[in-house]
C-alpha cells in the first residue's frame, strides 16, 4: 500500500512545524497535562480551604476561619518553629558538609569515582528507609548509645531521639546524611568549572592553596550555592516521609512539621477544610523561598543579556 509521504519527492519539502511535530507533542502534551493537574489541584485546595469541609468536600464559605484555627493550634505553632530550626540548620549544615566533601574530592585523589558514588548513594535510598534505619541507630536502647555502653563506656549518653528538646536534631542528622551527597555533586561540578588558567595565575602570583580557595574558587561558586540552598529549602519545607518514619512527630508532638500537620488534619482528623488551609500555608512558605529565587534568576538573565 502506497502512502502520501513516499510519493512526495523529498522529505525536506515538509514545512518546519510538521517535521518538528513529534517533538512538540512530546514536550508540550505532558507539560500541559502536568501543569493543568498542578494548577487545578492547587486551585481546588485553595477553594476547599475556604469551605467548611470535613469528611468530604462541601460547598460553603467560612472565610479565614480554617486559617485562624490552624494558626492557633499548638500543632501548627510547634511545626512552624520546627520548620524554621530544621530548615536553617539542615540547609546550612548540608551545604557545608557537601562543600567540604567536594573540596576534598577535588584534590585529584585516587578512587574518586568510587567515593563519589558512596557519598551520592544515600540519595538513592528512600526517605522511609533512611528514617527507619536512623530510628534504630539513634534509639538509645538499640543503637549507638547501646554500642558504646557495650564497649565499656557506660556513662556515654546519646538519647536525642527520645529527648523532646533535641529530637528535631535527629531529623537534621538523618536529612544531612541523605542529601549532603547531592550538594557535594553540585559543588564538585562548580569546582571543576572554575577556569584553570585563573588558578594557575594565582599560583604564579604566590597564593597558597587556602588562599586560592578563599579568594578565587569559593567566590565563583556562589550561584551554585544559591541553587543548592533553594533546592534543599524546598525539600526541607515539604519533608514528610523522613519524619514520619524517624520520630512520627514525637516524642509527644515535639517534632511536628507542616507536612505532617496537613496529613494529620486531612486524613487522620477528617478535617479537609483545615488540612487544605494548612497546605495553602505551606505553599505560601514555599513561595516565600521560590519567588525571590525566580526574581534573582530573572535579574541575572537580564544582566547577562545586557552585557
Amino acid at each position: 500500500m502506497s502512502n502520501a509521504a513516499t510519493m512526495r519527492p523529498g522529505r525536506p519539502a515538509l514545512p518546519e512545524w510538521v517535521r518538528r511535530l513529534p517533538e512538540y507533542l512530546m514536550i508540550w502534551v505532558p507539560l500541559l497535562l502536568s501543569a493543568a493537574h498542578l494548577v487545578s489541584f492547587s486551585l481546588w485546595t485553595i477553594w476547599i480551604s475556604f469551605t467548611p469541609s470535613t469528611l468530604v468536600p462541601v460547598t460553603g464559605w467560612v472565610g479565614l476561619r480554617n486559617y485562624s484555627a490552624v494558626a492557633a493550634s499548638r500543632n501548627w505553632q510547634i511545626a512552624f518553629d520546627n520548620l524554621l530550626l530544621f530548615g536553617s540548620a539542615f540547609v546550612l549544615l548540608s551545604a557545608v558538609t557537601g562543600l567540604i566533601l567536594a573540596i576534598l574530592l577535588d584534590q585529584r585523589i585516587r578512587g574518586e569515582n568510587v567515593l563519589r558514588s558512596i557519598f551520592l548513594y544515600p540519595l538513592a535510598v528512600s526517605f522511609v528507609v533512611t528514617g527507619t534505619v536512623w530510628s534504630w541507630l539513634l534509639n538509645p536502647g538499640l543503637g549507638i548509645q547501646k554500642l558504646v555502653h557495650d564497649l565499656g563506656w557506660t556513662t556515654f549518653k546519646f538519647d536525642w531521639l527520645i529527648d523532646r528538646d533535641m529530637a528535631i536534631w535527629t531529623i537534621v542528622i538523618a536529612a544531612i546524611w541523605q542529601s549532603s551527597g547531592f550538594a557535594m555533586a553540585l559543588f564538585l561540578a562548580g569546582l571543576r568549572s572554575v577556569d584553570s588558567d585563573i588558578i594557575k595565575a594565582a599560583q604564579i602570583d604566590g597564593a597558597g592553596p587556602v588562599r586560592t580557595y578563599r579568594r578565587i574558587i569559593l567566590p565563583s561558586l556562589w550561584p551554585i550555592t544559591i541553587t543548592v540552598v533553594v533546592i534543599q529549602l524546598q525539600f526541607a519545607i515539604s519533608t514528610f516521609d523522613l519524619v514520619r518514619a524517624l520520630t512520627n512527630g514525637g516524642p509527644g508532638i515535639a517534632t511536628q512539621l507542616p507536612a505532617l500537620v496537613v496529613y494529620d488534619l486531612m486524613f487522620q482528623r477528617s478535617l479537609l477544610g483545615r488540612g487544605a488551609a494548612a497546605a495553602v500555608l505551606m505553599l505560601l512558605i514555599l513561595l516565600a523561598v521560590l519567588l525571590p529565587y525566580a526574581a534573582w534568576r530573572y535579574i541575572q538573565r537580564r544582566r547577562a543579556a545586557h552585557a
Binding site: 499548638r74 538499640l142 523532646r164 509527644g252 508532638i253 478535617l271
Partner: protein, 428 residues
C-alpha cells in the same frame, strides 16, 4: 437439579419477602452478593474475616471483600473515594461516632426489621447500641468487642515482686509497681509509644478513678467535668505510669516489648484485649501472664468499650441488597460471633453467648464477665483513645495534649488538665 435450585431460591426469596417486604420487591431470586471493604487483611483479623466470608459463601452468597491494609484512616480514604464516586461498598468497616458522621454523607440501609427479627437489641450494651443507631434507626451492626483497659501482669515480674494478688484499685496498682521496682523489675510498666498507647493510659486512669467523671468529661464533653478535680487526678496517675515506663520506646509499637514483659523485665501492661491474641500469635504461653480488668477505685470493674462494626450503604442492585440481608443476619448470629471472637481474641457483642466452653481463654472469660458487671453497675464507657467516645478530630485534639504530657515531664498535671479543656474547646 436446576429445578430444585430454582425452588430453593424461590423459597428463600419468599421467606425474605415475608420478613422484609421493603427488600423483597427488588430482591426476586437474585443470588446474594456482598461488596465489602475493611482494614483486616492479615494476622488474626484477616483470618477472622476470611472465615466470615466462607460462611457467607456456604449460605450461597458471593463474597467480594477488598481489604485496605494499614491504619483505619487508610480504609476510610478508600471509602471516601468510593462514596464520592457514587459507588459505595454494600458494607464497610466503621465504628463509634464515625458511624453517625459518615451516615450524613451517603444514604445507609435501615436495618431495624432485621435487628428486631434477630432480637439483637436486647443483648447489646446500651451505650454501644446507641452508636449504631444514629437518628434512632439501626444502620450498622457491632461485630466484636475489646476492652482497652485490660491489665496484663507478667508472671515472672510478679514472682520478683513476691506478689500474687491482682491489683484492684489504683493504689494497689501503684503499690505493686513499687514492689516490682524494688524486686528488680527494670520497668514496672510495659508499653509502646504510639498516640493511642498514651491515650489509653489516660482513659484507663480517669475511668478507673471515676467512671462518672469520664462519662461527663470525655463522652459528653461537659465543661464543668473537664475542669474537675478528677481530670487532674488522672494526669497525676498518668505521670506515675509514665515514670515506670522505659523511656527508650520512642514511637515503638507495644508489641515490640512483649518479650521483655514475658521475661519479667517489664511488669504490667495496660492494653486492649487484642494484646492477648498478639501474645498468643507471638508464641507466648497463657500461663506466662495474667489478665484482669484495669484498676478501678470503687472496686467494681470499669470497661472501656471498643467495638468493631459494619455499616451498610444503600445500593440499588437486588443481589447486593440480598447480600446485605444475609450479611446482617450472619453478623448478629451467636455462632458467627463465637467463631469470629475465637479467632481474634475479642469477646462477642452479644452478652448472651456462653464462654465457658472449649475454644475460649481465661482472659476472654474475664473480659466478658467484666463487661457484664460493668454494664450492671453502669460502668461500661466508650473508649476515647480508640475513637469510640468522640469523632476523630476531637479524639486527636485530646490525644495531642495527653501524648505531649506523657513525654514531657516538665508539664504539671494542672497545666495538662487546663490544656485538655482548651483543646476540647478548640476542636468543638
Amino acid at each position: 437439579m436446576p429445578i430444585t435450585t430454582t425452588r430453593r431460591r424461590l423459597l428463600a426469596g419468599s421467606a425474605a419477602a415475608l420478613a422484609f417486604p421493603h427488600l423483597a420487591r427488588a430482591q426476586g431470586a437474585a443470588k446474594p452478593r456482598l461488596t465489602a471493604i475493611s482494614q483486616w487483611s492479615a494476622g488474626s483479623d484477616g483470618a477472622a474475616i476470611t472465615a466470615l466470608g466462607k460462611k457467607f459463601e456456604e449460605k450461597g452468597g458471593v463474597w467480594q471483600h477488598s481489604p485496605v491494609p494499614g491504619f483505619t484512616t487508610e480504609m476510610m480514604n478508600k471509602l471516601r473515594a468510593q462514596i464520592m464516586a457514587g459507588d459505595p461498598p454494600a458494607c464497610s468497616q466503621l465504628k463509634g461516632p464515625e458511624i453517625a458522621a459518615w451516615s450524613k454523607i451517603a444514604p445507609t440501609v435501615n436495618l431495624d426489621a432485621l435487628v428486631a427479627a434477630a432480637g439483637y437489641e436486647k443483648v447489646v450494651a446500651p451505650d454501644l447500641a446507641k452508636l449504631h443507631k444514629p437518628g434512632g434507626k439501626w444502620i450498622a451492626l457491632p461485630l466484636q468487642i475489646y476492652s482497652t483497659n485490660m491489665l496484663f501482669l507478667s508472671k515472672r515480674a510478679m514472682d520478683k515482686a513476691k506478689a500474687d494478688k491482682v491489683p484492684v484499685t489504683w493504689a494497689d496498682f501503684n503499690d505493686l509497681a513499687e514492689r516490682m521496682k524494688t524486686g528488680g523489675v527494670a520497668f514496672p510498666i510495659a508499653n509502646g509509644g504510639t498516640r493511642p498507647d498514651d491515650g489509653q493510659k489516660f482513659e484507663a486512669a480517669l475511668a478507673g478513678i471515676s467512671p462518672l467523671a469520664y462519662r461527663a468529661a470525655i463522652m459528653n464533653l461537659e465543661k464543668k467535668a473537664l475542669e474537675g478535680p478528677e481530670i487532674k487526678a488522672a494526669f497525676v496517675q498518668v505521670r506515675k505510669i509514665a515514670d515506670w515506663m522505659d523511656p527508650n520506646v520512642g514511637a515503638q509499637h507495644f508489641s515490640t516489648n512483649l518479650k521483655r514483659f514475658i521475661d519479667g523485665d517489664m511488669g504490667m501492661m495496660i492494653m486492649g484485649g487484642w494484646a492477648q491474641g498478639v501474645l498468643r500469635n507471638a508464641g507466648f504461653k497463657l500461663e506466662d501472664f495474667m489478665i484482669a480488668p484495669g484498676p478501678s477505685d470503687n472496686g467494681k470493674p470499669v470497661f472501656l468499650l471498643n467495638a468493631d462494626a459494619f455499616i451498610f450503604w444503600q445500593r440499588k442492585e437486588p443481589d447486593l441488597q440480598a447480600g446485605q440481608t444475609l450479611m446482617a443476619q450472619l453478623v448478629m448470629d451467636p455462632a458467627i460471633q463465637t467463631m469470629y471472637s475465637q479467632i481474634t481474641g475479642s469477646i462477642p457483642v452479644r452478652t448472651d453467648v456462653d464462654l465457658s466452653g472449649e475454644g475460649w481463654s481465661e482472659g476472654q472469660r474475664t473480659t466478658a464477665k467484666a463487661l457484664k458487671d460493668a454494664i450492671a453497675s453502669n460502668q461500661a464507657v466508650l473508649s476515647m483513645a480508640h475513637n469510640m467516645a468522640q469523632e476523630n478530630g476531637m479524639t486527636a485534639a485530646m490525644i495531642d495534649v495527653i501524648t505531649e504530657y506523657v513525654k514531657n515531664k516538665t508539664i504539671k498535671p494542672e497545666q495538662a488538665a487546663m490544656r485538655l479543656a482548651e483543646a476540647v474547646e478548640g476542636a468543638r
